[in-house]
């Protein structure tokens, strides 16, 4: 009974939170609601007994990904509400509705055909993290390693992109040097445009 109560409670909360995320025009509401929604999703993992995944969900999505979003939001004034430009509201409704229907169909399909069963049911004899480790490093080893390599590539690319002018310090340079640097960079882009 507790599972049922918890499920419906967290399901409602999750839906409310993500609705706020989509509907609000205030960036800070969206951020907070999305972070809260991510935490509420982890509750489903806990209900299903997948403690490890639940904790990872909290750490990765709420602790890291959403915090990075928040970092990006530092660049604009979050205390103002955003005025969105809706050029074609009808198209938005159609596309959004289509996407929603598709998702519902995809999720419902296995349930309707009663074709739903766990490939790797929870084994009470080994811990949660051990079970995940076994699956990850046996059957899904190649995708796992590929994802790791992809993240590594992305990280190196990020460092290269961000570190282009890292050897220069604007606080240590004279004004003329800065002006010279700006001039040369704009010239480069203009040449590139030609």
């Amino acid at each position: 009974m507790f599972e049922a109560v918890a499920f419906y409670l967290f399901a409602t909360l999750t839906i409310i939170m993500f609705t706020i995320t989509v509907m609000t025009s205030q960036a800070l509401y969206a951020l907070t609601a999305m972070a809260a929604g991510m935490i509420f999703i982890s509750a489903f993992f806990f209900i299903l007994g997948a403690d490890f995944l639940g904790a990872i969900q909290i750490i990765v999505y709420t602790g890291a990904v959403m915090a990075l979003y928040a970092f990006g939001m530092m660049f604009f004034d979050t205390t103002r509400t955003l005025v969105e430009k809706r050029s074609n509201p009808r198209l938005v409704v159609v596309l959004g509705g289509l996407a929603a229907v598709l998702v519902v169909l995809i999720v419902l399909a296995p349930i309707v055909t009663t074709n739903i069963n766990a490939h790797y049911p929870i084994d009470p004899s080994v811990g949660n993290s051990q079970a995940i480790g076994m699956v990850l490093f046996t059957k899904y080893l190649v995708p796992f390693e590929l994802a790791a390599v992809m993240l590594l590539v992305a990280m190196i690319a990020g460092i290269v992109l961000a570190g282009k002018k890292m050897d220069k310090s604007l606080t240590l340079m004279a004004d003329e040097e800065i002006a010279l640097m700006h001039a040369s960079s704009t010239q480069n882009t203009e040449e590139g445009a030609h």
Binding site: L28, I59, A70, N128
Partner: protein, 329 residues
């Protein structure tokens, strides 16, 4: 799920909440006293004997102060931000064993709210969410100092989560479990079995990261008084500000417990002596938080990031690799 379990859990939650709220208050008293003694002052002396009732006076002051919500803030976010800090601090306490199990009137009590088998991961996750208190509070405040503080808190938390996570990885590989009770039992043999002897580097790295995650003095950039006033707390008043405070001090206690349990043997074999040893270790770590505040200067934000990404994280990775090789061969 029987009734006794539910009642026991609720009682434990209430006890932890009350004890650590009170301890957070007392923590401020100890901090003021210790800092004062180290600076040849007396600290609070007027309220009660040796100023002991200063805590009560501060509490009354915070509760009865006017709760000011400035005009331009994002009101709902501004209001819940302090609650997030306090709540996540106490939620992290759910997976921490504060005391070995004991028997009262023939009923065995486990002084841990939820003995999940991923305890330490849960604690780290909750401390990661603790970031949202300063972050949302700072971003909703419509104040440039608060905004700087929010940016700093996001940067510091994300960076030092990496260090704390990677440094914990090596001891966890040795223990083979994420449960704090398993980690404690691994070191039950006595001082020789403490993980700090086999993982001294991880111990120091996690300790450093603990300073960053609780925002204590060498890394006190999030609310650095002489640069950004009170950071995210600038616009807060009354009990909302007090909740930030309770959250910070509760976090200090909990992370002291975590360090003591993971690296310094915890409560050992579970005897009463072991339990008091745990309290001693926790008090030492809490005292060290205050000690460094009296002794050390703050670092600059860029130095903090440099320390994290160029020094601590490589050392942590090397530590994990070496531990792996030692365990394999």
């Amino acid at each position: 799920m029987d009734m006794a379990f539910i009642i026991e859990t609720i009682v434990k939650i209430v006890v932890i909440l009350l004890v650590f709220s009170a301890l957070a208050g007392l923590g401020t008293y100890f901090e003021r006293k210790v800092l004062a003694f180290m600076q040849r002052r007396l600290g609070p002396m007027h309220v009660g004997p040796f100023g002991l009732l200063q805590v009560a006076a501060d509490g009354i002051k915070l509760f009865t102060k006017e709760d000011i919500i400035p005009q331009n803030v994002v009101k709902p976010i501004f209001k819940i931000a302090p609650v997030i800090t306090a709540a996540t601090a106490f939620m992290a306490a759910a997976a921490i064993p504060f005391w070995p199990q004991f028997t009262v009137f023939g009923y065995t009590v486990h002084p841990i709210v939820a003995d999940v088998n991923i305890g330490i991961l849960y604690v780290l996750g909750m401390m990661a969410i603790g970031l949202y208190g300063p972050l949302l509070g700072g971003m909703a405040s419509a104040n440039k100092f608060s905004l700087i503080s929010a940016a700093r808190s996001a940067a510091v938390f994300i960076s030092y989560e990496v260090v704390s996570g990677l440094s914990l990885l090596a001891p966890l590989m040795m223990v083979g479990s994420l449960s704090l009770i398993d980690i404690n039992n691994y070191q039950a043999g006595g001082i020789g079995n403490w993980i700090v002897w086999s993982q001294p580097v991880a111990f120091i790295l996690f300790w450093i990261a603990a300073f960053a995650e609780t925002g204590r003095t060498p890394f006190h950039l999030i609310a650095n008084d002489h640069e950004i006033i009170d950071g995210f707390g600038t616009e807060y008043s009354g009990m909302r500000w007090g909740l930030f405070f309770i959250g910070e001090y509760a976090n200090m206690f909990f992370i002291s417990f975590v360090i003591a349990i993971i690296f310094l043997g915890g409560f050992g074999d579970g005897s009463i002596a072991g339990a008091f040893q745990l309290l001693l270790k926790v008090s030492f770590f809490f005292f060290f938080f205050l000690w460094t505040r009296a002794a050390w200067p703050d670092v600059r934000p860029d130095q903090l990031m440099w320390l994290c990404w160029k020094v601590l994280m490589p050392i942590a990775v090397i530590n994990v690799v070496i531990t792996g090789f030692v365990m394999m061969f």
